[in-house]
Amino acid sequence: MYGIGILKGLGVTLKHFVATYVDDLRWFLDRISGRSGGRYFNDKSMAVRQGAKARGVFTVQYPEEKLPTPEEFRFLPFLVYEVDEQGHAHDRCTSCGICAKVCPPQCIWIERSNDPATGRPVPEPVEFYIDVDICMNCGLCAEYCPFDAIKMDHVFELATFDRMNHHIFNKERLSRPVSYYASIRPTNYAREEEARAAKEAAKAAKAETA
């Protein structure tokens, strides 16, 4: 009969429509019985709502609610510095320039300096610029940095009112402590620290035998 297909289709929309309220009700009952924090503004429910078992309305109430960012999420690079016991900051960056060489849109500028006494290059860069208008967030700089000195950030809400003067980030703007890096990428950080410790142990063992 003509129209059956349309009715079937409307059945699907009706199912979606009903599922939304059923899902709301389910989370509501969970909340009033104290079993969970409800459907919205709740990290635990977010995992369900955005997972394979999701039912009902799929949307997220951004910016009040946000999707969790996975650890590998990448948005704009930052520079990692270590803080020693005296509280001095030391860049991990040695201005080797690999990130500037691998950068596809060539948005990284690094100013290396030489020690006036010896004429040799000083490891830490004098200045480090990233033009964030040009950066394509590909993450190759972080991937190929041999010193784990440049990493990709998780902060993506960076709207400014003036693009002419604020979109070239300098070293000061780009630098973050190691603790920040460890907080946003814990498993990566742990893996790198393990590798570093193993390398240093091997070095020490070699020095001992020599």
């Binding site: 394979a52 690094i110 190759l140």
Partner: protein, 583 residues
């Protein structure tokens, strides 16, 4: 392999075309060099006698400072098997080649592109106009001695970035500053843009006095521009149509509004730098784009990724297909007037897959996940389970839901059945690819015809449909999602443990000199990367055979004779992405 799937040998070709063909013996190159004056005869014989009915790719290479250019053709048989690659060499100062449009109509846009970007004149081409640049553009930008407005150096990395990085804003180098060269006698103030006179003149019209529709009422012929700013065109795309009443008499696509000369950028880049740029071609299927480019360069390097990486690549590529087909169906329904409900349902599933992409690659859309000889990183904790849940439970159910939702819908059927028909022979001749080709009854799928990666291990069908109308192009996508899920289920089940990178991941790969053509069955069709290396860190030639772009060659054929309202849904059923069309 049977006789039919083997490429013809030089001896066979030499007997057939005496004196016209020689082998390309440059190190790393393959295929044949055809004498320019014998090209048409060669192509005719190749198509009619040897069965190479499908001309996949036409492109050009500039060998500056050598005074020669080369036009490169890749032809296939639709039964499957490897390509016949043939080349024609022409002098650089007066490059002229016979057009292959009369033999392979699918060469139309590709020859126009080669004319536009390389300045190679194709004799006998029916409508040789610029296609990506505008009429009146000075020069041919893909030539090696042509420099863009923000030109810094021929090859990246640029020397002023390190170690004396004195930063400047690229934008401060304004296009009307010293960094731009004008053709002699050009004054920007007095410039009047050239009109589209050539374009309009090229449109066919119903001859005077033959009032096409047979009605008693006389009708006027109109030229109507659909787009470039129009929600139905999926981006900045323009269709110029002549109408007789409401019936389409002729249609010509106009593109290039999103052109950024991807290929020129690609030749400035190093090999690795191109990987994130390929994401930006078909931005619905960045994993698939990565795949094609990685294959092309790996062929040159002579490496293969480890088992685990192969499986993960297939998983990502097939998830991408589901993402793409979900969106394609959603947008098609949008074009039919079913505003957003189907699209949003489809996008819900897409979001779940994008969550997986984000977790493995760091980005939802611009994935940049593949590397030469492997992948950027292994699957993070818990993702395999997520993929498992999706491909075994949720997605099969949701694909069937979309099917129940739309397939039997009478409005969809009325609007789609018998509309926008592309007959089988025309589809092959016009080099249509992917779902468009298979909906016209040609069981051609690169995954089957010339299996790459590990696709020969999986069980799946290549669905076809007999009618080649919009409805078939819709159904084929539903069926392809089912087949993708079959592949995914096998891949997820068999995913081995192990390494994900062959050798050490390097930021500067050594690519031996030579040419290679890496092609994959992307969701929109055959995506090919033609790469030439000279052994230096940057590719000498980097060409993208973009399926969206070449599928548009058949848009005119599909639309003629139907109503103007059907053009929108016909375009929706071709499924284009302007990032890839305009490159």
């Amino acid at each position: 392999m049977t006789e039919a799937t083997l490429a013809p040998s030089l001896e066979q070709l030499d007997i057939r075309f005496p004196g016209a063909v020689s082998a390309d013996t440059r190190p790393g190159y393959s295929g044949y060099i055809v004498a320019p004056d014998r090209l048409t005869a060669f192509a005719q014989g190749l198509r009619d006698d040897l069965g190479y009915d499908y001309l996949s790719s036409v492109t050009a290479v500039d060998y500056f400072p050598d005074a020669r250019m080369e036009v490169v053709y890749h032809a296939y048989r639709t039964q499957g098997g490897p390509a016949v690659v043939f080349k024609v060499q022409v002098p650089r100062d007066e490059p002229q080649v016979d057009s292959l449009v009369p033999i392979y109509p699918g060469a139309d846009f590709q020859e126009r592109e080669a004319w536009d970007l390389f300045g190679i004149h194709f004799r006998g081409h029916p409508d040789l106009r610029r296609i990506l640049m505008w009429e009146g553009f000075a020069g041919h930008p893909m030539r090696k001695d042509w420099h863009e407005a923000y030109f810094e150096e021929d090859n990246k990395p640029y020397k002023n970035r390190w170690p004396e990085g004195k930063v400047y804003r690229i934008e401060d180098k304004v296009p009307f500053g010293h960094n731009v060269s004008y053709p002699p006698s050009f004054t920007p103030e007095g410039w009047v843009p050239e009109t589209d006179a050539a374009l309009y003149a090229g449109l066919s019209r119903v001859p005077e006095g033959e009032g096409g529709n047979g009605h008693a009422m006389g009708t006027d012929q109109l030229v109507v521009n659909l787009g470039p700013q129009h929600p139905s065109t999926h981006g900045v795309f323009r269709m110029v149509v002549t109408l007789d009443g409401e019936t389409i008499v002729d249609l010509k696509p106009v593109m290039g509004y999103l052109h950024r000369n991807h290929e020129k950028i690609g030749e400035r880049n190093t090999f690795l730098m191109n990987m994130p740029f390929t994401d930006r071609l078909d931005y619905f299927c960045s994993m698939g784009n990565n795949f094609g480019y990685a294959l092309a360069v790996e062929k040159l390097m002579g490496i293969r990724p480890p088992e685990r990486a192969e499986y993960i690549r297939v998983i990502m590529a097939e998830l991408t297909r589901i993402v793409n087909h979900m969106s394609a169906i959603g947008f098609l329904l949008n074009d039919l007037g079913a505003f957003f409900t189907p699209l949003i349902y489809a996008f819900g599933e897409r979001e779940l897959i994008l969550d997986i992409f984000e977790a493995v690659s760091g980005s939802r859309i611009m994935c940049n996940y593949f590397r030469f000889g492997g992948l950027a990183r292994d699957l993070p904790e818990g993702i395999q389970q997520k993929i498992h849940d999706l491909v075994f439970e949720r997605l099969p159910r949701q694909v069937e839901e979309i099917n129940t939702f739309l397939t039997e819908n009478e409005i969809v059927r009325n609007r789609c059945i018998g509309v926008g028909v592309l007959p089988r022979e025309r589809a092959i001749a016009l080099s249509a690819a992917g779902p468009v080709l298979r909906a016209s009854g040609v069981a051609y799928d690169v995954r089957r015809a010339e299996p790459y990666s590990i696709y020969d291990r999986f069980e799946f069908d290549v669905p076809t449909r007999p009618n080649g109308d919009i409805y078939d192009r819709y159904l084929i996508r539903i069926e392809e999602m089912r087949q993708s899920l079959r592949i995914l289920q096998q891949a997820v089940r068999d995913l081995p443990a192990g390494e994900i990178q062959t050798g050490k991941a390097q930021y500067q790969v050594r690519v031996p000199a030579g040419e290679s053509y890496g092609r994959v069955e992307n969701p929109k069709g055959e995506l090919g990367f033609y790469v030439i290396s000279t052994g230096k860190p940057n590719p000498w030639r980097y060409h993208v055979r973009a399926p969206s772009f070449i599928n548009l060659t058949s848009l005119g054929t599909m639309s003629k004779g139907y109503k103007v309202a059907d053009v929108v849904s016909t375009l929706g059923s071709v499924d284009i992405v302007l990032g890839e069309v305009d490159r």
